[in-house]
Amino acid sequence: MQIPIDKLKTMVRGIARTQEIEYSCDDVYQLLDEFTEAVAQGKDVAKLMPLVQQHIEMCPDCREEFEALLRVVRATHPGV
């Protein structure tokens, strides 16, 4: 198994953004509905829920789930 240079860079960028304390996937799942509605409402989630935002940047699984939920919220709750 070799590390391609682009993957190495992605890893290094991940290290650069690493915090001593991060939310886990379970922490994020707890808050994902609230977070997604806030994004749909155009709120500044990086300020309001920075740990959720950071986890979603670091965790591909949670990011996919957030993006899927955001599509649903935008399509079905245009007013939220």
Partner: protein, 212 residues
């Protein structure tokens, strides 16, 4: 259909017989409306697998909704909370299907090979830069070998290099997804601290290999 308040939803879902059945029917429809958007890019509604998946996801979601109703804290629309559960159920199933034939073993280094060598294929032709790059690669490989546990290396190769979902990596390693994220987080923290001790910043590494 979607006109109940959170309090009305909760009352109906906790009610007996009729009100509850009607609420569940409405939730079913709400999930069905959301799924094509949730699965956009994953599975098209025209796909022959879509209807069966949607039915399974809806069923499992409703079971979870009823089981976890008391954990709903009212910090979002109840319907968003339900959609969140449906998204998790649906994507878990699709990831499982997509990755079911890939084993961690098949991704790992052959016997005797150094752990995680970095490919040198697109290293610069500029000789001075090439030396800098190969020194840096050697340093990074040493850090990976010395700082990380075997489990962490396996998890990084699978999740970060091969982009296997962490849910699948976790399953194959006999762990919960939450624990696997923590394992990867711990690996990043260790590498970050080691880089700090070595006086190497992420920016320097990125600069050495060119931007982009």
């Amino acid at each position: 259909m979607n006109t109940r308040t959170n309090a009305e939803w909760l009352a109906d879902l906790r009610a007996e017989a009729n009100a509850r059945a009607m609420a569940l029917t409405d939730l079913r429809a709400i999930i069905a409306t959301g799924l094509p958007y949730a699965l956009s890019g994953w599975l098209a509604p025209s796909d022959p697998q879509f209807d069966a998946l949607a039915e399974d996801v809806t069923q499992e979601t409703l079971v979870k909704v009823l089981a976890h109703l008391d954990s709903f804290q009212g910090r979002s629309q109840l319907t968003t909370w339900v959609q969140k559960i449906a998204v998790r159920v649906a994507l878990s199933e699709l990831r499982r299907r997509r990755w079911k034939d890939v084993s961690l073993d098949s991704l790992m280094t052959d016997e005797g090979e150094e752990p995680m060598p970095v490919t040198q294929s697109n290293v610069t032709p500029d000789p001075a830069r090439a030396v800098e790059q190969s020194e840096m690669l050697a340093m990074i490989q040493r850090m990976i070998a010395e700082e990380l546990t075997e489990k962490q290396r396996i998890a990084i190769v699978a999740a970060r290099i091969n982009e296997m979902p962490i849910e699948q990596v976790a399953q194959q390693m006999g762990m919960e997804r939450n624990a696997l994220y923590k394992l990867l987080h711990d690996a990043r923290v260790r590498l970050k601290k080691r880089m700090e001790r070595e006086g190497l910043t992420p920016e320097e590494v990125l600069a050495a290999f060119g931007s982009g």
